[in-house]
Symmetry: C2
Subunit: 236 residues, 2 copies
DNA sequence: TGACCCCCTAGCCAAATGGCTAGGGGTAGG
DNA sequence: CCTACCCCTAGCCATTTGGCTAGGGGGTCA
C-alpha cells in the first residue's frame, strides 16, 4: 500500500510545531461534524494517532459544518448526518458539499443505520459510510485514507442495505411530506384516524389519504409498519 | 450466589491508596463500559484531563463490565446500558453491581433516553443518568465527582422522564415477556394477527392475548403505539 | 400444596383500518 | 398554459383491530 511514506512521517516526533510545508507529504485535513462531544474528542484522539492526519475543525450543527468546510476546505469531512431534528438536512448538506467542493470527500459515521439515509447519502456523493458501534479503531484511519483516495467504504451491515435499498426503491426513495409526517407521528402516539383528523383540523378521509401515500412511499401496508419504518429512519 | 469469594478478592485488590476521604492524591478509579470505541477513547481523553481521574478498565459487553468491576473495584462505573441485543441485561447488571459493590457508583451514559430504562435503572440504584448527545465536556467530570459523593445526577431531559415515569407506572414498569416481544416485532413488520399466528405456530387468539398484555404493560392501546414505545425503548 | 406467572385458546361485538375509485383547489416552474 | 405536486374530501367494502369474558396446562418457588 501507500503506508511507507506515511510511516516516515510518523517517525517524526511532534508535527504540531511545523505544520507549514516542512513534511514532504501534506497532512490529511479533516473536519469532524458530530453533536456529541465525546465522539468528537474520541475521533480526534484516534485519528491523530495516525501520522499525517489532523482534525482542523469541529462542528455541531449543519450550518457550522458547512462553514467549516467553507473555511478549511478539508480533504475529508467526517459527519454524523443526524445533527438535528431534521435528518434530511444532513442529506442536503452532503449534496451541497459534493457540489461545491468535489475535492472534499465525505465519510458518514452513523449512530444507527437507516436504509433510506444510507441509500440517499450515497446517491448524493458520500464516499464512505460506517456505523459508529461496529467500527474498529484501526478501521477509522483506513477508512479515511480510502475515501481520500476516492474509494467507496461501506461498513459492516451497510453493504446489504444498499443492495436492498437500490432493489426495492425503483424510482427514487420518495420522502414524506410534512403533513404525512405529522400524521405518522400522531399514529405513533396511538391516535385513531378520527382523533388525528380532529387534531389537525382535517377530515378523516384526508388522514387516510395521507397514510395511504405514506404507506406507498415507505413500502408498508399497516400503520404499525409505517411507524416502525419511520422510527427506524429516525423520522420520529 | 458466590459473592463471598469475590468480596475477598476485592478487598485484596483495592488498597493501593487509602480512599476513606478523598485526598488530593487518591485517584478516582473509573471503569468505562461502552460498545463504541470512539466513545471509549473520547471518554478516557476527557476524563483524564481532570487531574485525579483514571480510567482503569474498558469493557464492551455486560460480562466484561462485570468482570472489570470484579477485578478493579472502581469508584465509578460509567456505562451505556445498551451493550447488546437485550437491553434488560443492562438493568440486571446494575442490580448486581449495586448489590455486590455498594461502594461503586454507577453513572449511565445513554445514547437515547428511554423512559422505561431510566426509571428502571434508577430503581436499581443507578446514581447518575446523562445523555451522550446533550452532555457537555465539563459536565462529565462534574458528574463523576458528584456521583462519587453519592449525589444523584440527572442530565437534561432525564428529570422530566423520571417524573412522568414514576407517575404513570404505579406498580412497577413490568417488562415484556419473550413471547410478547416476538409478537411485537412481527407487528412492527406489518404482519396481521393471522400471519403472526401462523408464523409463531400459535392461534390468532393467542396473538391477541399477548398484544393485550403488551398494551397494558406499555400503556398503549393501539398496535402502532406499541411499536412506537417498544422502538423508543430500544426493544426492536 | 397453593400462589403465581407464563403460555395457550375460544367467542363475541363495536370500532377502526386497508384498499379502492373519483373527484376539487392551491402553488410553483418550465 | 400545461404539468407536477401537495393538500383536501367522499363513499364503499372486506378485513382487522381493540376490548372483553372465560377458561386449561405447565413451571417455579415458598
Amino acid at each position: 500500500m501507500d503506508t511507507d511514506v506515511r510511516n516516515e512521517v510518523k517517525a517524526d516526533h511532534r508535527p504540531d510545531v511545523s505544520l507549514g510545508r516542512r513534511s514532504p507529504l501534506a497532512k490529511t485535513r479533516i473536519v469532524v461534524a458530530d453533536r456529541n462531544v465525546i465522539t468528537r474528542v474520541g475521533l480526534r484522539s484516534i485519528l491523530e494517532r495516525n501520522a499525517g492526519m489532523a482534525v482542523v475543525a469541529e462542528a455541531t450543527s449543519y450550518e457550522a459544518a458547512l462553514d467549516a468546510v467553507d473555511e478549511h476546505g478539508p480533504d475529508v469531512l467526517i459527519i454524523d448526518l443526524d445533527l438535528g431534528d431534521d435528518t434530511t438536512r444532513g442529506l442536503k448538506l452532503c449534496e451541497e458539499v459534493t457540489d461545491r467542493y468535489p475535492a472534499t470527500k465525505i465519510l458518514v459515521l452513523a449512530q444507527k443505520l437507516s436504509e433510506m439515509i444510507v441509500v440517499e447519502a450515497l446517491r448524493r456523493g458520500v464516499t464512505g459510510y460506517l456505523s459508529k458501534d461496529d467500527v474498529k479503531a484501526d478501521e477509522l484511519g483506513k477508512g479515511v485514507r480510502a475515501v481520500q483516495d476516492g474509494e467507496t467504504v461501506l461498513g459492516k451491515g451497510v453493504g446489504s442495505m444498499v443492495a436492498r435499498g437500490l432493489g426495492s426503491t425503483r424510482g427514487a426513495a420518495e420522502h414524506l411530506t410534512d403533513r404525512e409526517l405529522e400524521v405518522i407521528r400522531a399514529v405513533a402516539a396511538g391516535l385513531s384516524n378520527k382523533q388525528i383528523a380532529h387534531q389537525a383540523f382535517i377530515s378523516e378521509s384526508t388522514v387516510k389519504f395521507h397514510l395511504q401515500n405514506a404507506s406507498r412511499k415507505l413500502n408498508a401496508h399497516r400503520r404499525a409498519e409505517i411507524v416502525h419504518r419511520a422510527s427506524a429512519a429516525g423520522l420520529l
